[in-house]
Protein backbone atom coordinates (compact mmCIF):
# COMPACT_ATOMS: atom_id res chain seq x y z
CA UNK A 1 0.00 0.00 0.00
CA UNK A 2 1.48 3.35 -1.04
CA UNK A 3 1.78 5.94 1.70
CA UNK A 4 0.66 9.53 1.17
CA UNK A 5 3.65 11.89 1.35
CA UNK A 6 3.67 15.70 1.51
CA UNK A 7 5.64 17.43 -1.26
CA UNK A 8 8.62 18.18 0.95
CA UNK A 9 9.11 14.63 2.22
CA UNK A 10 12.69 13.51 2.63
CA UNK A 11 11.87 9.82 2.21
CA UNK A 12 12.65 9.67 -1.49
CA UNK A 13 12.82 6.14 -2.92
CA UNK A 14 11.68 4.67 0.40
CA UNK A 15 8.29 6.34 0.27
CA UNK A 16 6.52 3.28 -1.15
CA UNK A 17 8.06 0.48 0.81
CA UNK A 18 7.70 -1.04 4.25
CA UNK A 19 10.66 -3.29 3.52
CA UNK A 20 14.40 -2.95 3.78
CA UNK A 21 15.82 -1.43 0.62
CA UNK A 22 19.33 -0.42 1.68
CA UNK A 23 21.54 -0.69 4.74
CA UNK A 24 22.31 2.52 6.65
CA UNK A 25 24.81 2.02 9.47
CA UNK A 26 27.12 -0.80 8.49
CA UNK A 27 29.99 -2.82 9.92
CA UNK A 28 32.68 -4.22 7.68
CA UNK A 29 34.43 -7.62 7.67
CA UNK A 30 34.43 -10.26 10.37
CA UNK A 31 37.18 -12.91 10.23
CA UNK A 32 37.25 -16.11 12.26
CA UNK A 33 39.22 -19.35 12.49
CA UNK A 34 39.32 -22.61 14.42
CA UNK A 35 42.37 -23.14 16.58
CA UNK A 36 43.50 -25.80 19.06
CA UNK A 37 41.17 -24.91 21.94
CA UNK A 38 38.25 -23.32 20.10
CA UNK A 39 37.43 -20.38 17.89
CA UNK A 40 39.11 -17.01 17.42
CA UNK A 41 37.16 -14.17 15.84
CA UNK A 42 38.14 -10.61 14.96
CA UNK A 43 36.15 -7.55 13.94
CA UNK A 44 36.85 -3.84 14.00
CA UNK A 45 34.66 -1.44 15.92
CA UNK A 46 33.55 0.83 13.13
CA UNK A 47 29.95 1.71 12.23
CA UNK A 48 29.89 3.54 8.90
CA UNK A 49 27.03 5.69 7.70
CA UNK A 50 27.69 5.51 3.99
CA UNK A 51 31.13 6.98 3.55
CA UNK A 52 31.13 8.68 6.98
CA UNK A 53 32.75 6.91 9.90
CA UNK A 54 29.88 7.65 12.27
CA UNK A 55 30.47 5.27 15.19
CA UNK A 56 33.85 4.12 16.44
CA UNK A 57 32.97 1.83 19.35
CA UNK A 58 30.53 -0.65 17.90
CA UNK A 59 30.87 -4.13 19.38
CA UNK A 60 30.17 -6.41 16.45
CA UNK A 61 30.82 -9.64 18.33
CA UNK A 62 28.59 -10.89 21.13
CA UNK A 63 28.38 -14.08 23.20
CA UNK A 64 25.24 -16.17 22.74
CA UNK A 65 24.32 -18.51 25.59
CA UNK A 66 27.15 -20.53 27.09
CA UNK A 67 28.67 -22.00 23.97
CA UNK A 68 28.50 -19.56 21.07
CA UNK A 69 29.92 -16.33 19.73
CA UNK A 70 28.18 -14.29 17.04
CA UNK A 71 29.93 -11.77 14.83
CA UNK A 72 28.09 -9.64 12.30
CA UNK A 73 28.82 -7.36 9.40
CA UNK A 74 26.27 -5.28 7.55
CA UNK A 75 23.41 -3.27 9.02
CA UNK A 76 24.00 -2.68 12.74
CA UNK A 77 20.33 -2.20 13.63
CA UNK A 78 19.49 -5.57 12.05
CA UNK A 79 22.30 -7.12 14.11
CA UNK A 80 20.71 -5.65 17.23
CA UNK A 81 17.38 -7.13 16.22
CA UNK A 82 18.99 -10.54 15.73
CA UNK A 83 20.51 -10.27 19.22
CA UNK A 84 17.00 -9.55 20.48
CA UNK A 85 15.64 -12.73 18.80
CA UNK A 86 18.54 -14.70 20.24
CA UNK A 87 17.93 -13.32 23.73
CA UNK A 88 14.47 -14.82 23.57
CA UNK A 89 15.80 -18.11 22.15
CA UNK A 90 18.37 -18.46 24.92
CA UNK A 91 15.83 -17.43 27.55
CA UNK A 92 13.42 -20.19 26.54
CA UNK A 93 16.34 -22.60 26.41
CA UNK A 94 17.29 -21.68 30.00
CA UNK A 95 13.68 -21.78 31.18
CA UNK A 96 13.49 -25.50 30.41
CA UNK A 97 16.03 -25.86 33.20
CA UNK A 98 16.83 -29.38 32.02
CA UNK A 99 20.59 -29.31 31.92
CA UNK A 100 20.56 -29.03 28.12
CA UNK A 101 21.72 -25.92 26.33
CA UNK A 102 21.77 -24.79 22.72
CA UNK A 103 25.15 -25.36 21.10
CA UNK A 104 26.71 -23.36 18.26
CA UNK A 105 25.36 -25.76 15.63
CA UNK A 106 21.82 -25.22 16.86
CA UNK A 107 22.17 -21.45 17.06
CA UNK A 108 23.64 -21.38 13.56
CA UNK A 109 20.73 -23.42 12.26
CA UNK A 110 18.25 -21.09 13.94
CA UNK A 111 19.93 -18.03 12.44
CA UNK A 112 19.98 -19.64 8.99
CA UNK A 113 16.24 -20.23 9.20
CA UNK A 114 15.61 -16.66 10.37
CA UNK A 115 17.70 -15.14 7.56
CA UNK A 116 16.17 -17.39 4.90
CA UNK A 117 12.61 -16.70 6.02
CA UNK A 118 13.18 -12.94 5.95
CA UNK A 119 14.64 -13.31 2.44
CA UNK A 120 11.53 -15.24 1.41
CA UNK A 121 9.40 -12.28 2.52
CA UNK A 122 11.62 -9.92 0.52
CA UNK A 123 12.52 -8.07 3.73
CA UNK A 124 16.01 -9.29 4.57
CA UNK A 125 18.10 -8.71 7.65
CA UNK A 126 21.01 -7.03 5.96
CA UNK A 127 23.81 -8.94 7.68
CA UNK A 128 26.48 -11.53 7.10
CA UNK A 129 26.81 -13.50 10.30
CA UNK A 130 29.65 -15.61 11.70
CA UNK A 131 28.74 -18.10 14.39
CA UNK A 132 31.48 -19.91 16.30
CA UNK A 133 31.62 -21.98 19.43
CA UNK A 134 32.65 -25.12 21.29
CA UNK A 135 30.40 -27.66 22.93
CA UNK A 136 31.44 -30.99 24.40
CA UNK A 137 34.85 -30.65 22.87
CA UNK A 138 33.45 -30.17 19.39
CA UNK A 139 34.53 -26.94 17.70
CA UNK A 140 32.08 -25.32 15.29
CA UNK A 141 32.44 -22.37 12.94
CA UNK A 142 29.77 -21.38 10.46
CA UNK A 143 28.47 -18.42 8.53
CA UNK A 144 25.16 -17.29 7.04
CA UNK A 145 24.48 -14.49 4.58
CA UNK A 146 21.53 -12.14 4.22
CA UNK A 147 19.87 -14.43 1.67
CA UNK A 148 20.36 -17.57 3.75
CA UNK A 149 23.47 -19.08 2.13
CA UNK A 150 25.21 -20.95 4.94
CA UNK A 151 28.12 -23.29 5.47
CA UNK A 152 30.73 -24.26 8.03
CA UNK A 153 34.46 -24.37 7.55
CA UNK A 154 37.78 -24.14 9.41
CA UNK A 155 37.97 -20.44 8.68
CA UNK A 156 35.35 -17.96 7.48
CA UNK A 157 35.08 -14.27 6.70
CA UNK A 158 32.43 -11.79 5.60
CA UNK A 159 32.47 -9.01 3.02
CA UNK A 160 35.94 -7.86 2.05
CA UNK A 161 37.35 -10.54 4.30
CA UNK A 162 36.33 -13.10 1.68
CA UNK A 163 38.54 -11.41 -0.87
CA UNK A 164 41.51 -10.43 1.27
CA UNK A 165 41.57 -12.66 4.35
CA UNK A 166 40.44 -16.08 3.05
CA UNK A 167 43.39 -16.46 0.66
CA UNK A 168 45.81 -15.78 3.54
CA UNK A 169 43.94 -18.25 5.73
CA UNK A 170 43.94 -20.89 3.00
CA UNK A 171 47.70 -20.58 2.77
CA UNK A 172 48.59 -20.41 6.46
CA UNK A 173 45.82 -22.08 8.47
CA UNK A 174 46.45 -25.56 9.80
CA UNK A 175 44.93 -27.86 12.42
CA UNK A 176 45.77 -27.21 16.07
CA UNK A 177 47.02 -23.66 15.78
CA UNK A 178 48.17 -22.35 19.12
CA UNK A 179 46.41 -19.34 20.58
CA UNK A 180 49.37 -17.07 19.79
CA UNK A 181 49.64 -18.33 16.23
CA UNK A 182 45.90 -17.95 15.74
CA UNK A 183 45.94 -14.37 16.96
CA UNK A 184 48.99 -13.60 14.80
CA UNK A 185 47.21 -15.03 11.76
CA UNK A 186 44.01 -13.06 12.46
CA UNK A 187 46.02 -9.86 12.96
CA UNK A 188 47.75 -10.45 9.64
CA UNK A 189 44.33 -10.68 7.98
CA UNK A 190 43.00 -7.61 9.79
CA UNK A 191 46.09 -5.61 8.85
CA UNK A 192 45.59 -6.33 5.15
CA UNK A 193 41.94 -5.34 5.52
CA UNK A 194 42.99 -2.16 7.29
CA UNK A 195 45.27 -1.18 4.43
CA UNK A 196 42.88 -2.06 1.65
CA UNK A 197 39.26 -1.89 2.91
CA UNK A 198 38.03 1.68 2.87
CA UNK A 199 35.48 1.02 5.63
CA UNK A 200 37.96 -0.63 8.02
CA UNK A 201 39.24 1.28 11.04
CA UNK A 202 42.28 0.70 13.22
CA UNK A 203 40.41 -0.24 16.36
CA UNK A 204 39.60 -3.88 16.73
CA UNK A 205 38.70 -6.59 19.16
CA UNK A 206 39.61 -10.25 19.08
CA UNK A 207 37.24 -12.71 20.75
CA UNK A 208 38.07 -16.20 21.87
CA UNK A 209 35.63 -18.96 22.69
CA UNK A 210 36.64 -22.30 24.20
CA UNK A 211 34.98 -25.03 26.22
CA UNK A 212 35.61 -22.87 29.31
CA UNK A 213 33.82 -19.81 27.95
CA UNK A 214 34.15 -16.65 25.96
CA UNK A 215 36.51 -13.72 26.38
CA UNK A 216 36.73 -10.59 24.29
CA UNK A 217 39.79 -8.40 24.24
CA UNK A 218 39.89 -4.72 25.01
CA UNK A 219 39.87 -2.60 21.87
CA UNK A 220 43.35 -2.11 20.47
CA UNK A 221 45.06 -1.02 17.25
CA UNK A 222 47.43 -2.73 14.88
CA UNK A 223 50.86 -1.41 14.02
CA UNK A 224 50.92 -0.18 10.45
CA UNK A 225 53.74 0.83 8.14
CA UNK A 226 53.17 3.55 5.62
CA UNK A 227 56.75 4.16 4.51
CA UNK A 228 56.65 1.73 1.62
CA UNK A 229 58.10 3.61 -1.35
CA UNK A 230 54.97 2.87 -3.40
CA UNK A 231 52.90 4.69 -0.81
CA UNK A 232 55.31 7.64 -0.77
CA UNK A 233 54.88 8.45 -4.40
CA UNK A 234 51.91 6.44 -5.61
CA UNK A 235 51.68 8.18 -8.98
CA UNK A 236 55.28 7.45 -9.93
CA UNK A 237 55.44 5.64 -13.24
CA UNK A 238 51.78 6.24 -13.92
CA UNK A 239 51.34 7.65 -17.37
CA UNK A 240 48.24 9.63 -18.19
CA UNK A 241 45.59 11.31 -16.12
CA UNK A 242 44.57 8.41 -13.92
Amino acid sequence: MASKQPENSLLGPEADSQRTLYPYVTGTSVVALKYKDGILMAADMGGSYGSTLRYKSVERMKPIGKHSLLGASGEISDFQEILHYLDELILYDNMWDDGNSLGPKEVHNYLTRVMYNRRNKFNPLWNSLVLGGVKNGQKYLGTVSMIGVNFEDNHVATGFGNHLARPILRQEWHENLSFEDGVRLLEKCMRVLLYRDRSAINKLQIAKITEEGMTISQPYSLKTYWEFSAFANPAQGAVGSW
Binding site: S17, L21, Y116, N120, I147, V149, F151, D153
Partner: protein, 223 residues
Protein backbone atom coordinates in the same frame (compact mmCIF):
# COMPACT_ATOMS: atom_id res chain seq x y z
CA UNK B 1 9.87 10.06 -9.22
CA UNK B 2 10.42 6.64 -10.82
CA UNK B 3 9.60 3.54 -8.80
CA UNK B 4 12.69 2.15 -7.03
CA UNK B 5 13.78 -1.20 -8.40
CA UNK B 6 14.96 -4.02 -6.15
CA UNK B 7 18.70 -3.65 -5.61
CA UNK B 8 19.26 -6.99 -4.02
CA UNK B 9 18.48 -10.34 -5.52
CA UNK B 10 16.88 -13.09 -3.45
CA UNK B 11 18.83 -15.58 -5.57
CA UNK B 12 22.48 -16.43 -5.94
CA UNK B 13 24.20 -19.23 -7.86
CA UNK B 14 26.54 -21.21 -5.68
CA UNK B 15 27.67 -23.34 -8.59
CA UNK B 16 28.78 -26.93 -8.87
CA UNK B 17 27.85 -29.96 -10.93
CA UNK B 18 25.85 -33.11 -10.22
CA UNK B 19 25.70 -36.41 -12.10
CA UNK B 20 23.77 -39.64 -11.64
CA UNK B 21 24.03 -42.91 -13.57
CA UNK B 22 21.63 -45.86 -13.22
CA UNK B 23 22.80 -49.44 -13.60
CA UNK B 24 21.07 -52.84 -13.57
CA UNK B 25 21.43 -53.27 -9.81
CA UNK B 26 23.08 -50.05 -8.61
CA UNK B 27 22.91 -46.30 -8.92
CA UNK B 28 25.81 -43.87 -8.72
CA UNK B 29 25.18 -40.27 -7.68
CA UNK B 30 28.05 -37.78 -7.67
CA UNK B 31 28.67 -34.07 -7.13
CA UNK B 32 31.66 -31.82 -6.57
CA UNK B 33 32.11 -30.18 -3.16
CA UNK B 34 32.88 -26.62 -4.17
CA UNK B 35 30.57 -23.80 -3.09
CA UNK B 36 31.13 -20.45 -4.81
CA UNK B 37 29.60 -17.03 -5.22
CA UNK B 38 30.56 -14.84 -8.14
CA UNK B 39 34.29 -15.32 -8.64
CA UNK B 40 34.90 -16.33 -5.02
CA UNK B 41 35.11 -19.77 -3.50
CA UNK B 42 33.19 -19.85 -0.21
CA UNK B 43 34.24 -23.33 0.81
CA UNK B 44 35.89 -26.37 -0.75
CA UNK B 45 34.14 -29.00 1.34
CA UNK B 46 30.38 -28.60 0.99
CA UNK B 47 28.29 -31.68 0.23
CA UNK B 48 25.56 -31.27 -2.37
CA UNK B 49 24.33 -34.81 -1.86
CA UNK B 50 21.50 -35.65 0.50
CA UNK B 51 20.11 -39.05 1.44
CA UNK B 52 16.32 -38.74 1.32
CA UNK B 53 15.40 -42.39 1.98
CA UNK B 54 17.06 -45.77 2.37
CA UNK B 55 17.40 -46.29 -1.37
CA UNK B 56 17.00 -42.74 -2.60
CA UNK B 57 19.69 -40.06 -2.85
CA UNK B 58 19.46 -36.55 -4.28
CA UNK B 59 22.19 -34.29 -5.59
CA UNK B 60 21.35 -30.62 -6.15
CA UNK B 61 23.22 -27.60 -7.36
CA UNK B 62 22.12 -23.98 -7.70
CA UNK B 63 21.25 -21.62 -4.87
CA UNK B 64 22.43 -23.31 -1.70
CA UNK B 65 19.88 -21.77 0.69
CA UNK B 66 17.01 -23.02 -1.52
CA UNK B 67 18.68 -26.44 -1.87
CA UNK B 68 18.98 -26.71 1.91
CA UNK B 69 15.34 -25.66 2.41
CA UNK B 70 14.21 -28.17 -0.23
CA UNK B 71 16.21 -30.99 1.39
CA UNK B 72 14.68 -30.16 4.78
CA UNK B 73 11.17 -30.09 3.30
CA UNK B 74 11.62 -33.51 1.68
CA UNK B 75 13.19 -35.01 4.80
CA UNK B 76 10.27 -33.77 6.88
CA UNK B 77 7.71 -35.13 4.42
CA UNK B 78 9.53 -38.45 4.36
CA UNK B 79 9.35 -38.69 8.13
CA UNK B 80 5.59 -38.11 8.01
CA UNK B 81 5.28 -40.77 5.29
CA UNK B 82 7.15 -43.24 7.46
CA UNK B 83 4.84 -42.51 10.40
CA UNK B 84 1.77 -42.98 8.24
CA UNK B 85 2.83 -45.99 6.11
CA UNK B 86 5.36 -47.71 8.37
CA UNK B 87 7.84 -48.01 5.52
CA UNK B 88 10.45 -46.05 3.58
CA UNK B 89 9.45 -44.09 0.49
CA UNK B 90 10.46 -45.75 -2.75
CA UNK B 91 12.59 -43.80 -5.20
CA UNK B 92 9.76 -43.28 -7.73
CA UNK B 93 7.51 -42.06 -4.92
CA UNK B 94 10.14 -39.58 -3.75
CA UNK B 95 10.58 -38.51 -7.37
CA UNK B 96 6.93 -37.48 -7.57
CA UNK B 97 7.10 -35.74 -4.18
CA UNK B 98 10.11 -33.72 -5.31
CA UNK B 99 8.32 -32.67 -8.48
CA UNK B 100 5.25 -31.57 -6.54
CA UNK B 101 7.36 -29.73 -3.95
CA UNK B 102 9.18 -27.80 -6.67
CA UNK B 103 6.00 -26.89 -8.54
CA UNK B 104 4.37 -25.71 -5.33
CA UNK B 105 6.78 -22.78 -5.52
CA UNK B 106 6.23 -22.27 -9.23
CA UNK B 107 5.92 -18.48 -8.78
CA UNK B 108 8.94 -18.02 -6.48
CA UNK B 109 10.97 -21.09 -7.41
CA UNK B 110 13.53 -23.06 -5.52
CA UNK B 111 16.63 -22.26 -7.58
CA UNK B 112 17.71 -25.84 -7.34
CA UNK B 113 18.76 -28.17 -10.16
CA UNK B 114 18.32 -31.73 -9.03
CA UNK B 115 19.14 -35.27 -9.94
CA UNK B 116 17.50 -38.00 -7.94
CA UNK B 117 19.04 -41.47 -7.93
CA UNK B 118 18.38 -44.77 -6.25
CA UNK B 119 16.86 -48.21 -6.60
CA UNK B 120 13.25 -48.79 -7.57
CA UNK B 121 11.02 -51.38 -5.90
CA UNK B 122 12.65 -54.20 -7.91
CA UNK B 123 16.15 -53.18 -6.96
CA UNK B 124 16.99 -51.78 -10.38
CA UNK B 125 18.81 -48.47 -10.65
CA UNK B 126 16.78 -45.39 -11.54
CA UNK B 127 17.66 -41.76 -12.14
CA UNK B 128 15.24 -38.84 -12.32
CA UNK B 129 16.25 -35.44 -13.61
CA UNK B 130 14.53 -32.13 -12.84
CA UNK B 131 14.38 -28.50 -13.75
CA UNK B 132 13.88 -25.77 -11.13
CA UNK B 133 10.07 -25.91 -11.23
CA UNK B 134 9.51 -29.63 -11.06
CA UNK B 135 9.39 -30.88 -14.64
CA UNK B 136 10.91 -34.37 -14.41
CA UNK B 137 11.68 -37.50 -16.34
CA UNK B 138 13.05 -40.97 -15.58
CA UNK B 139 16.32 -41.43 -17.45
CA UNK B 140 19.32 -43.75 -17.51
CA UNK B 141 21.75 -40.99 -16.57
CA UNK B 142 21.73 -37.23 -16.08
CA UNK B 143 23.82 -34.21 -15.25
CA UNK B 144 22.79 -30.84 -13.75
CA UNK B 145 24.52 -27.68 -12.63
CA UNK B 146 27.27 -25.45 -13.96
CA UNK B 147 29.26 -28.25 -15.60
CA UNK B 148 26.28 -30.03 -17.13
CA UNK B 149 26.86 -28.55 -20.59
CA UNK B 150 30.33 -30.07 -20.56
CA UNK B 151 29.35 -33.38 -18.97
CA UNK B 152 26.11 -34.34 -20.73
CA UNK B 153 27.52 -34.64 -24.27
CA UNK B 154 30.27 -36.91 -22.98
CA UNK B 155 27.81 -39.11 -21.11
CA UNK B 156 25.66 -39.26 -24.25
CA UNK B 157 28.68 -40.48 -26.16
CA UNK B 158 29.70 -43.12 -23.60
CA UNK B 159 26.34 -44.41 -22.43
CA UNK B 160 24.46 -44.46 -25.75
CA UNK B 161 21.03 -44.24 -24.17
CA UNK B 162 18.25 -45.26 -26.60
CA UNK B 163 15.58 -42.72 -27.37
CA UNK B 164 12.59 -42.86 -25.01
CA UNK B 165 10.38 -42.40 -28.08
CA UNK B 166 11.27 -45.78 -29.56
CA UNK B 167 8.80 -48.65 -29.48
CA UNK B 168 9.02 -51.20 -27.92
CA UNK B 169 10.18 -49.23 -24.85
CA UNK B 170 13.89 -49.85 -24.32
CA UNK B 171 15.74 -49.87 -21.04
CA UNK B 172 17.63 -46.68 -20.32
CA UNK B 173 19.90 -48.14 -17.64
CA UNK B 174 23.48 -48.72 -18.61
CA UNK B 175 24.92 -52.21 -19.06
CA UNK B 176 28.14 -50.99 -17.40
CA UNK B 177 29.12 -52.57 -14.09
CA UNK B 178 29.42 -50.46 -10.96
CA UNK B 179 33.19 -50.07 -11.13
CA UNK B 180 33.06 -48.92 -14.75
CA UNK B 181 30.34 -46.39 -13.98
CA UNK B 182 32.36 -44.97 -11.08
CA UNK B 183 35.39 -44.70 -13.33
CA UNK B 184 33.31 -42.85 -15.90
CA UNK B 185 32.09 -40.43 -13.22
CA UNK B 186 35.65 -39.70 -12.14
CA UNK B 187 36.71 -39.06 -15.72
CA UNK B 188 33.77 -36.80 -16.35
CA UNK B 189 34.39 -34.62 -13.29
CA UNK B 190 38.11 -34.38 -13.92
CA UNK B 191 37.28 -33.06 -17.39
CA UNK B 192 34.59 -30.67 -16.20
CA UNK B 193 36.99 -29.24 -13.57
CA UNK B 194 39.40 -28.29 -16.33
CA UNK B 195 37.03 -25.90 -18.04
CA UNK B 196 34.24 -25.03 -15.61
CA UNK B 197 35.48 -22.61 -12.96
CA UNK B 198 32.66 -23.54 -10.59
CA UNK B 199 33.48 -27.26 -10.58
CA UNK B 200 36.44 -28.61 -8.66
CA UNK B 201 38.07 -29.14 -5.24
CA UNK B 202 36.73 -32.60 -4.41
CA UNK B 203 34.36 -35.15 -5.89
CA UNK B 204 31.89 -36.95 -3.68
CA UNK B 205 30.48 -40.22 -5.07
CA UNK B 206 27.58 -42.06 -3.46
CA UNK B 207 26.77 -45.61 -4.58
CA UNK B 208 23.38 -47.15 -3.84
CA UNK B 209 23.05 -50.91 -4.26
CA UNK B 210 21.54 -53.97 -2.60
CA UNK B 211 24.15 -53.79 0.19
CA UNK B 212 23.16 -50.23 1.07
CA UNK B 213 24.78 -46.88 0.53
CA UNK B 214 28.50 -46.16 0.42
CA UNK B 215 30.54 -43.01 -0.13
CA UNK B 216 33.79 -42.36 -2.00
CA UNK B 217 35.90 -39.25 -2.55
CA UNK B 218 38.37 -38.10 -5.17
CA UNK B 219 40.49 -34.94 -5.28
CA UNK B 220 39.84 -32.51 -8.12
CA UNK B 221 41.66 -29.42 -9.34
CA UNK B 222 41.55 -26.60 -6.84
CA UNK B 223 41.93 -23.69 -9.25
Amino acid sequence: MTKQQANWSPYDNNGGSCVAIAGADYCVIAADTRMSTGYNILTREYSKICKLADKCVMASSGFQADVKALQKQLAARHLIYQHQHNKQMSCPAMAQLLSNTLYYKRFFPYYSFNVLGGLDNEGKGCVFTYDAVGSYEKVGYSSQGSGSTLITPFLDNQLKSPSPLLLPVQDAVTPLVEAEAIDLIKTVFASASERDIYTGDKLEIVVVNADGIRREYMELRKD
